[in-house]
């Protein structure tokens, strides 16, 4: 059942509407496309494209923040207290 990728054959029971629904949900998560008017419908492939680049951006941010954290954590004494403090006082 998981081999049925083509949408014209509805053997898996996932309708086209559901997929469009999901695409819309995805679109609302993306900062780029979130504010676009409902009248101009963004194509599904555009949404997927933006999703890919957004994920790549997030990965890059994780990398960047990991590097900075690594530098900051190198100071053993001060870091410990500051760690707890920073997360408890947001």
């Amino acid at each position: 059942m998981s081999g049925r990728r083509s949408r014209s054959r509805q053997s898996s029971g996932i309708s086209e509407d559901q997929i469009n629904d999901l695409i819309i949900k995805l679109q609302q998560l993306l900062p780029e496309l979130r504010n676009s008017r409902r009248s101009d419908k963004v194509s599904a492939s555009r949404v997927l494209q933006e999703t890919c680049s957004y994920i790549r951006n997030l990965h890059r941010e994780v990398d960047d923040l990991s590097e900075r954290l690594s530098e900051l954590l190198a100071n053993t004494d001060t870091a410990q207290a500051a760690l707890i403090r920073s997360l408890l006082t947001q």
Partner: protein, 158 residues
């Protein structure tokens, strides 16, 4: 799989759940002797990055989502730990390539393929499932980024 009437749930846990898991990972890391030596920077960065992804996967529900499962499996393979999973999904990407039809679905599928490479565990998912998992993955990723940003801000000298 008749899931037509079930609404797609994309609620992620609160930020503190992510923060807690990440802090736990970090404190475990700091207990290692080699962690605090100033020379091994690249090693440290890699470990922190891995801790970020693993703690994110755990905060998001561990083995209950496909992508978090794949993340944990990937991380466990690196450390040779044994992790239990309930089911293995077959890789289904090969079946798609056999079709030579040129229709609007094709361009979408191409993008979906790229997405599959980005989301962990994506290769074994059907397109609709992939989209759902992606939504959840994006939310968790941005949550994790927020947590790490808060940490960095808190640790930086004023």
């Amino acid at each position: 799989m008749a899931s037509a009437d079930k609404p797609i749930n994309t609620d992620v846990p609160e930020k503190d759940v992510f923060a807690l898991h990440f802090l736990q990972s970090l404190s475990n890391l700091r207990r290692q002797n080699t962690f605090n030596s100033p020379e091994k920077t690249n090693d440290r960065v890699k470990k922190i990055k891995k801790a970020a992804y693993v703690s994110m996967a755990r905060a998001a529900g561990g083995t209950s989502r496909l992508w978090s499962r794949a993340l944990l499996r990937r991380a466990a393979k690196e450390t040779n730990k044994v992790v239990r999973f309930s089911r293995r999904k077959k890789r289904v990407t090969w079946l798609r390539r056999r079709s030579n039809r040129r229709d609007p679905v094709e361009e979408e599928e191409k993008e979906a393929e790229r997405l599959r490479n980005l989301v962990p565990g994506g290769g074994a998912m059907e397109t609709s499932k992939l989209i759902e998992e992606t939504a959840y993955y994006i939310k968790c990723l941005s949550m994790q980024v927020k947590v790490m940003q808060c940490l960095v801000d808190g640790l930086s000298p004023k």
